[in-house]
């Protein structure tokens, strides 16, 4: 174990390098730029096999699709408008069942133009058939890279690793970047049964008639739901090697908690601090952190919130004109519970608006009265 004091982005690039990708294709965009920059440098130094400096994000994802279809391990990184530009091809990647990893440095979407962090970019890709993991810390993000490759290649589903832009990407912290030897032990070589091969030509992603199309989508949905088992097993393998354990969800101080904060990403670190402060004053506060947003862990969320009094679902995203995305999923998860908590929605932190320890503590105290709320913070 080598703990370094390093910027999150550079640690992520190192973790990607240790997974020995066959193809990296990126178009730099803030705040993911340092990851792409470092991978490009590694390519120049002969540490990465192939880096394609594409002219736009649509080409980046297209290059990944080609590389993966030909049996290569493929990876990219992007943010915000870059991810939105990939949108069309994201569906092709999952529909063609092509493993790949995309690191999303989460950032607000235009307009108005804003380079700062929130999760609207990746949340708006939630129906694209990709696995989505949201990380609280840089350590978790780094660990999630080999985990995502392994799960993706096992399930033949593409995977996004989401890290909060700036809060994580630009923070220099103590991070244990896994060494090549350890990654080699954990992550087998990618060798798909079906791949493009000029000796044995075949087509991928072809036309499906109305009689067949829907069953492809049904299979994709079933397999994405089933990916939960793969994620859980692969994460436990990672735990055996590193002692760092990740679940579909994380529970903090939940055992006797009455008022629960539910969120994703780096704000959960602030929430843990807030909960410690509230607990010191005798408040029964807890945190439920959702790490896997796709597939959504309905059972785990229901189990964690069963019997709780009040729940505040906080999210850095909005579904304009509809239910807030995380809030909607949590309500759906609670549907069959006989003792349902009161669930409130809080949207905040958009475009880099800081959500502090104090903000979180105030929310948890606020929901104690049992009122149902829809608020922006």
């Amino acid at each position: 174990m080598v703990v370094k004091t390093v910027e999150g982005s550079f640690a992520v690039a190192e973790a990607i390098r240790e997974c020995e990708p066959d193809v990296v294709a990126c178009y730099p965009i803030t705040p993911s730029t340092h990851i792409a920059e470092d991978l490009n440098r590694m390519y120049a130094d002969g540490e990465v096999k192939k880096y394609i400096a594409v002219e736009a994000e649509f080409s980046a994802i297209s290059a990944l699709i080609g590389a993966s279809a030909a049996g290569g391990r493929a990876v990219s990184t992007t943010s915000s408008q870059g991810l939105l530009l990939m949108h069309e091809a994201l569906f092709a990647a999952s529909g063609m069942r092509l493993p790949m990893v995309l690191v999303v440095a989460n950032r607000a979407v235009s307009a108005p133009l804003n380079i700062w962090g929130d999760q609207q970019d990746s949340i708006s890709q939630r129906d694209s058939g990709w696995i989505q993991l949201y990380c609280e810390t840089n350590q978790e993000t780094v660990d999630s890279i080999p985990i995502a490759f392994k799960v993706s290649e096992e399930t033949r589903l593409p995977a996004m690793v989401c890290m909060d832009g700036f809060y994580l990407t630009h923070s220099v912290e103590q991070i244990d970047v896994p060494e090549k030897k350890l990654v080699e032990k954990f992550l087998p070589k990618f060798n798909p049964e079906i791949k493009l091969d000029s000796e044995n030509p075949l087509s991928l992603g072809v036309y499906a008639m109305p009689s067949d199309y829907q069953s492809f989508r049904e299979d994709l949905e079933l397999d994405l739901q089933k990916a939960k088992q793969s994620i859980t097993r692969v994460q436990s393998e990672w735990n055996n090697l590193t002692g760092r354990n990740y679940g579909m969800i994380e529970q903090y101080m939940m055992k006797d908690a009455e008022n629960v904060f539910v969120a994703m990403g780096s704000v959960c670190g602030n929430a843990k601090e807030a909960i410690d402060q509230l607990r010191a004053n005798g408040e029964k506060a807890g945190l439920l952190r959702v790490r896997a947003f796709r597939p959504f862990p309905f059972g785990e969320v229901a189990g964690a919130l069963n019997g709780k009094k009040n729940v505040a679902v906080f999210e850095k995203a909005v579904s304009l004109g509809g239910a807030p995305p995380l809030f909607g999923e949590v309500l759906c998860a609670l549907n069959d519970l006989s003792r349902k908590p009161t669930v409130s929605s809080f949207i905040g932190g958009l475009g880099g608006k800081d959500v502090t320890v104090n903000n979180v503590a105030k929310i948890i105290v606020k929901i104690k009265d049992g009122e149902k709320r829809f608020e922006w913070v």
């Binding site: 700036f166 220099v172 670190g269 320890v357």
Partner: protein, 183 residues
């Protein structure tokens, strides 16, 4: 936990200063976290960077609102930026200046209990580096004024970051600032 804010101008190395401090602190087995002001960087414009120092692992990711220490790399900023903004009651400000601390009082919105140190880091940088780049030198002053990090740890961080002659010169600037700073 201690929070440090660096003020400089784009290109003066405020971000590197915060990062070197994070590395130096980690040498001593403590936890640290440094980050820039999130935004678009422009050469010459006022910028800030931050470093948190803690005995335990740092879990929070949010802006710094009430620093314990403020390090000002460029005295000229005092006319443009309220560098004492949010500073804790017993906070400490270290300014790169040739003037006496008392001469800066008019420009600094100092409250009772706060402490100001001055050091001619530009002079020391020019002497040792031949350039008015003071970010490393000011870390020497910070180590002395704060007692939060040892001189040897700062030197180690500087040696890791720079190579050969450049490392040597920067280490000299760090040492001279450390020795020159009057308590």
């Amino acid at each position: 936990m201690f929070e440090v804010r660096f003020h400089g101008r784009g290109g003066q190395g405020a971000v590197t200063a915060a990062e070197l401090l994070a590395v130096a602190v980690a040498v001593e087995g403590k936890s640290s976290q440094s980050f820039p002001v999130f935004g678009v960087e422009r050469r010459g414009a006022p910028v800030a960077s931050f470093c948190r120092i803690n005995d335990k692992q740092i879990r929070i990711h949010q802006q710094v609102y009430a620093p314990d220490f403020v390090v000002v790399l460029d005295e000229g900023l005092l006319d443009a930026v309220d560098v004492a903004n949010g500073l804790k009651e017993n906070g400490v400000i270290i300014v790169n200046s040739k003037c006496d601390a008392s001469a800066l009082n008019g420009k600094l919105k100092i409250k009772e209990g706060m402490k100001v140190f001055v050091i001619d880091a530009t002079g020391i940088a020019l002497k040792n580096l031949g350039k008015p780049i003071v970010n490393t030198a000011m870390l020497g002053a910070f180590a002395k004024a704060s007692g939060l990090v040892g001189l040897e740890s700062v030197k180690k961080a500087v040696n890791e970051r720079f190579e050969g002659k450049m490392a040597e010169k920067n280490v000299k600037a760090v040492e001279e600032c450390y020795n020159e700073l009057k308590q």
